[in-house]
Amino acid sequence: MSRLPFLFIVSGMIGFFLFHMFAIVHLYTWISQGLREPTGWFHIHLFVLGWGTMLAFGAIYQLMNVILQSKIYKESLGYVHYALFTIGLFGLLYGFISGHVGALATFGTITIIGILVFGWNMAHTILRSKQWNVIIFCATSSIVFLVLAAITGLTMGLNFAIVFGNSLHSSLFGTHIWLGTVGWFGLLITGFSYKMLPMFYLAHHYPTKLQLFTTILWTVSVIIGVVHFLILQQQWSFMLAVVTLLLAIVIYNIHLLQIRKYKHKKNPGPGIRWTMIGNFTFAILAILVVTHTLIFNADLLNFITLRLVTWLYLIMWVSFMILGYASKIVPFLWWTYKYGNRVGQKNTPVMSDMLSERWAFLGLAAIMVTSLVVMVGISVNSPSIIAYAGLAYSLCCIAYISLIAYVFTK
């Protein structure tokens, strides 16, 4: 069994732990101060790259075999990817916190080379499998958008150094974030959900047409967003990208209900149940935010709304989905590694012996509730609510990730 998914997943869990330790130390003041400050950049990049992307890489190395039913093109390139990405990320974070431009340029480039190595390896893996379906399309386009996000990040760095102009920086900044969040995370999570949820609900014979509609709308929304940031830069073009994305989110949730309707297993586990709740919560809150913006003709990119949307998308959806799926991915990895060759023997543990369902359920419930309170704090612009609820949120996250890490002792 490959150790590559382990490397990324364990590193991602450490990144998640570190993010929350730093967040507690700074009492979430970086949210109140604004995200476009060096401490804000540090926290955001630690969260997005050190946690979300790191764990997503591990999940891809584990699940690509399942989706494509073939092995990764070159596993050795996976280790090169890990080394470059991890070293680059450490240096990049140091660059952000210290304001060292040279470190940002050097290690940012190393991180991007790591992502390009990953993109190259995955492109060969996917092309070699000669298969094509909605799930493979989602995975492929998410990786393409990640590579493009990395390239726009590099271009932003070059723009800083050579100074083409402030307007180009704003365009690249928006494109970089849009590609990384909506493109990379969005399509990866939706695509993997189409595989994970039927597997754990044991759902069969469910209709799949909505998977296609969701994926088309999601991809179109990414493209409209990029065109908006790079060329149009009009309020209507941004709203068009957002409304298209919202439509994709709604259809995606309808499809998840279809999958659940055709289930043959009553209890898919607490992680899967909470990902369903997390998806619905995200859809409802996204509808409320966008409707409010449309009715009051507000600017989605103003200070409070931008923080609100960032929290809703990255914390309450992307991270929450990863946490939910980690409750399945980590026990699966560990069980296969430790007990995979003991199938058929007496007293071989089963998957439910790896993780306490009760504690996992409570942990995810606490994370959901506390993250909702932080969102309220952001909505009413209250630094004290953000600080206290943020503290509670971080403590719940540390407790939950420790529970997941405890699997490795089983």
Partner: protein
């Protein structure tokens, strides 16, 4: 015709996620036995199941242990696709299907 001991042995191979043995899950499509060989044609609940190697390895090991003088062949197929209707009533009850 095959020895009922084969099916009994296969009942010790569990899907660790579903916690149901592979016979009750309806994963075994066909069993053939002759003087020197045992041939199993089976599937998994989902194509590319991540437990593929563990379950197939478990089938090999348990049959080799029970029938050390015979050659064991396991043929994993995806057609016809497994459907939940293939599960025994015990398996359906275990999964809360009813």
């Amino acid at each position: 015709m095959y020895s009922p001991r084969i099916e009994d042995a296969l009942r010790h191979v569990y899907d660790p996620e579903l916690e149901v043995n592979i016979v009750d899950l309806g994963l075994i499509y066909d069993i053939e036995e002759d003087e020197h060989n045992i041939h199993i044609r089976m599937t998994l609940t989902t194509p590319g199941c991540p437990l593929h190697d563990s379950i197939i390895g478990g089938v090999y090991r348990i049959l080799q242990k029970e029938f050390p003088d015979k050659e064991i062949n396991v043929d994993l197929v995806w057609e016809p696709r497994w459907t939940p209707e293939r599960m025994s009533d015990e398996a359906k009850e275990r999964l809360g299907f009813f």
